[in-house]
């Protein structure tokens, strides 16, 4: 599943750009591959992020995966409920499973990101 209103990375993160803020998460492909997510490590508020820089990590019973930021900016909000309900990422990775919100330092973050069609194509060519 690849929602049309988001942008993507080849590392299976998504970003929703709303003016000068972005909301960030991991895609359906990522949560599916991980299995039941049991633990999430989120960035700190006001932490600064670089494009493809380390954002946090997620662990399931069989894998631990680092998450990289799709955008550059500073963290304004984190989805704290994930620390006690990390499985929200499995259940609703594009909605309730959002990871954090970022105030963008780059006015045009989309240049580093894939469109839904490009991400879809990337998934198909790597199947």
């Amino acid at each position: 599943m690849v929602p049309e209103n988001l942008l993507y990375t080849r590392d299976h993160e998504w970003a929703r750009i709303d003016g000068d803020t972005a909301t960030v998460g991991i895609t359906d492909h990522a949560q599916e591959a991980l299995g039941d997510i049991t633990f999430i490590e989120l960035p700190k508020i006001s932490q600064s992020l670089a494009v493809h820089g380390f954002l946090g990590s997620v662990e399931s019973s069989k894998a631990a995966s680092d998450i990289y930021s799709p955008v550059a900016g500073s963290v304004t909000e984190i989805n704290k409920v994930l620390t006690v309900q990390p499985d929200l990422i499995n259940k609703d990775c594009y909605g309730a499973g959002w990871l954090c919100r970022v105030k963008l330092t780059d006015p045009d973050p989309s240049k580093n990101l894939l469109s839904p069609a490009q991400y879809q194509q990337f998934l198909e060519s790597n199947a």
Binding site: D11, H12, E13, I26, H29, A30, E32, A33, L34, G35, D36, T38, F39, E41, F54, S57, V58, E59, S61, K62, A63, A64, S65, D66, I67, Y68, T83, V84, Q85, P86, D87, A127
Partner: protein
Amino acid sequence: MTQTDQDFVSQPKKTVLYDRHLALAGQSRLAPFAGYLLPLWYSGIPAEHKAVRTAAGLFDVTHMCVLGIAGPAALPFLDYLTTNSVAALTPGRAQYSYILDDHGHVLDDIIVYCLAPSRYMVVVNAANTQKIKAWSAQVLNTQTDLFSPGSVTVLDIRHESPGRVDLALQGPASLFALFRLIPSEYHLRLESLKTFELLHVDSPQIDLIIARTGYTGEKIAFELFVDPSKAPWLWDTLLDLCRDLNVIPCGLGARDSLRIEAGLPLYGHELDGPDLISPYQAGYPWAVKLNKPEFIGKTAIAAHAASFRSQIVRLSFPGEKGIRPIRPGDAVLDKFNTCIGHVTSSAGIHDTQIALALVLSGKIEVDQPIALYYASRNAAQTQLGRLPRPEQNMKLEPDLKGLVLPRFAKF
């Protein structure tokens, strides 16, 4: 996201059940393991783990190497190659054992099955297949005074025709499942089969070696050795016939959590590996028969038996959602918060985490509290002062408090 470990240096092989795995688990859940593509899970690791403990699970272990060892010198060869007493095996019996090198280091842990006088099956870990085949060949080529050429044949019977590959059916319902599969004249013998015994079902409908062995800790559990051409039929038939018994296919994830919960070692983690863990340290002194006149590595392992200082223990920690999973390399702390060892394997099982760890002997007791320090998982944590490689004797702040369990679980 980092890619989960996909090592495509050489293309992984498909087992004879690949099509079933693709259909039941899907492409994204297949992972390379010991050179084969195998499913991590089908319905989910917790569900599969529970199924084995309460009903039964079916595992594709056809990737494990099955060696057929035969010939007039088969027995003395195996007694020389392995640590346990093969001479004590009568046809229909099996034993857990080790192959050591000249320094007494474990090359593999194995099960030796006696099919007939001078005819054995040895099941070798998939990851050690090439190593053990080369080692056996080397022993035979160099010890020609002990084993004259041609007096022992060693074949990979997965590739022979007729041949044998291994499927595992484990859990309390597995006996009932097998009753539905095999002709009734074999039922009494199957029911009376003791652990580490085997029986050959040789009927027109089915040719199966059933061994009461396994890697889940379940007492009612079997390994099924069948011709590779019949493995898909066996897989399908067991799942179809026994759906109402809740027999389900289980993947690598559940296989790992089950064996960890039971306390069973994995080569490279609780045996050999960077710490060169021995059978004694792993908790299997009885599988090394020092009273055998000779076997490879005997002198070295005998010296080790008298002097080893650390051993594998089984620990329990909380594992509810929100608690960081334990990983190999995490430090085990005694009641003074001193590091006495490190985790070798761990698994989350429902709301608990079970860890196997190599710790200094004599430092902890069953039913006593124990603590854990998480090693640094990434550069960000290291920058904040968390140690990536905590070492023995360091004093560390505990992250998690747990309990020492008995070495092996009883199910």
